[in-house]
Subunit: 248 residues, 2 copies
């Protein structure tokens, strides 16, 4: 069993890391590990390191860092901008999007967005857990929910947007991605249940970075559309040429 | 609001359809519809038809079929053979796979499969609800769980298998699908949490219909891998050249 933890501090040979209270609880009381047990660590900056439990208290644990097992490596730069969905699908979307390698998760309030309150901390906890399990070296950045118009007002000039919309003209996603050539920074943008409203669609179609793409003849739920578009992007322009490290 | 129901009976001009008890409850007590209200119907054979509520009782409703709105059309022939996952992810997987256009859902018991009991009726209910919502004209066939070896023993000679495995050699899914050329019958095959065991992998790699494909460097959960592979297949070889009907 491969235990992996995301930690905030720096990782280097011989470093001593104090776990968070939750992590200590997990190691000592859930997994019932004793001093000496191996744990893999990553912080999004220093690659992956093998460590071992050095000392445990009732509610604390100190990890001693032994050696680097994987260097930090570049990852695809792919944001997911999405109109938030209900709680259970949102947990699921954050976990799956993290596994599918998004670099940032950005909830966008649209005109038809029903879910008002988006719990950033809950999203972060889901993203960290998924990153630990899927063996990523990073955790996606989680932004606070903002109106879509505000997100677009400060949009980086070079970042392209794959707009997933069920209405209106759109190129089939595979044709579009193949013709787009190289990687570079991208984002997937998905709307709320019920879709973007017409004024939003008009504004999006005028936005120079936006390309509308089609995900087939069925009406996908918002979270399904996001996951499908992320998977297609990774397969064509992302890092899906690579295999998981250390498996044979 | 577009109400769509899957029904078993034949659909034709002037037909009278008696709803199931659950459907009648939904129309009368949840949606509070009255006689005259429009409802779209499909049965997987006769296309989509516009009907209206003709008469309601306390626990029953009769629908009168008016006119066809969409003819039945061919759909991609894509099975999903999967080692069942826990209950909440299984509900989710069945819904999403239905939206992504699978034609059959086949639970496979593998050596490391932890979930023993797979509720076929619950799967069918999830598939029907997803088919109604995503505007499919069919509902995927739901099979009973069987041992993987038994499924492979009666495997159709012409149906190819995309094996999603995190270990071993595999072609990147996009390269593989592009080089595979045309459609034809396919299946996506995913393993349990923890993966196929080595004897299963050896048998699968010897099976002539099987091609192992890679879904990138991160370790995807079983349900994420299934959805990602289905999306890529539909984008490259399936019907994602098409747009949803009747939307502008």
């Amino acid at each position: 069993m491969n235990i992996r933890l995301f930690i905030e501090g720096d990782l280097a040979n011989g470093a001593a890391i104090e776990c968070s209270r939750d992590q200590a609880h997990y190691l000592i009381h859930v997994l019932r590990l004793a001093p000496g047990a191996p744990v893999a660590l990553f912080n999004g900056r220093d690659g992956e390191w093998l460590a071992h439990i050095d000392a445990v208290g009732k509610k604390s644990a100190i990890l001693a860092v032994d050696s680097q097992t994987r260097p930090q490596a570049p990852e695809p730069d792919l944001w997911l901008v999405f109109a938030p969905v209900k709680r259970a699908p949102l947990d699921f979307l954050v976990q799956k999007a993290t596994e599918l390698g998004v670099s940032a998760l950005m909830p966008a309030i649209t005109r038809r967005t029903v879910v008002e309150r988006v719990k950033r901390e809950r999203m972060a906890a889901n993203a960290i857990e998924a990153a630990e399990q899927c063996e990523r070296l990073t955790v996606p950045r989680i932004e606070n929910a903002r109106p879509l118009s505000q997100i677009l007002d400060s949009w980086p000039a070079e970042r392209r947007i794959l707009l997933c919309a069920e209405a209106g003209e759109a190129a089939p996603i595979h044709d579009f991605l193949r013709e787009s050539g190289s990687g570079g920074p991208w984002a997937v943008l998905t709307g709320p249940e019920g879709g973007f409203d017409q004024t939003e669609l008009d504004a999006l179609h005028k936005f120079p970075n936006v390309s509308a793409v089609g995900l087939g003849p069925r009406i996908l739920r918002a979270d399904t559309a996001a996951l499908a578009a992320l998977a297609c992007w990774q397969a064509v322009l992302g890092d899906w040429q690579n295999r998981p490290p250390g498996r044979h």
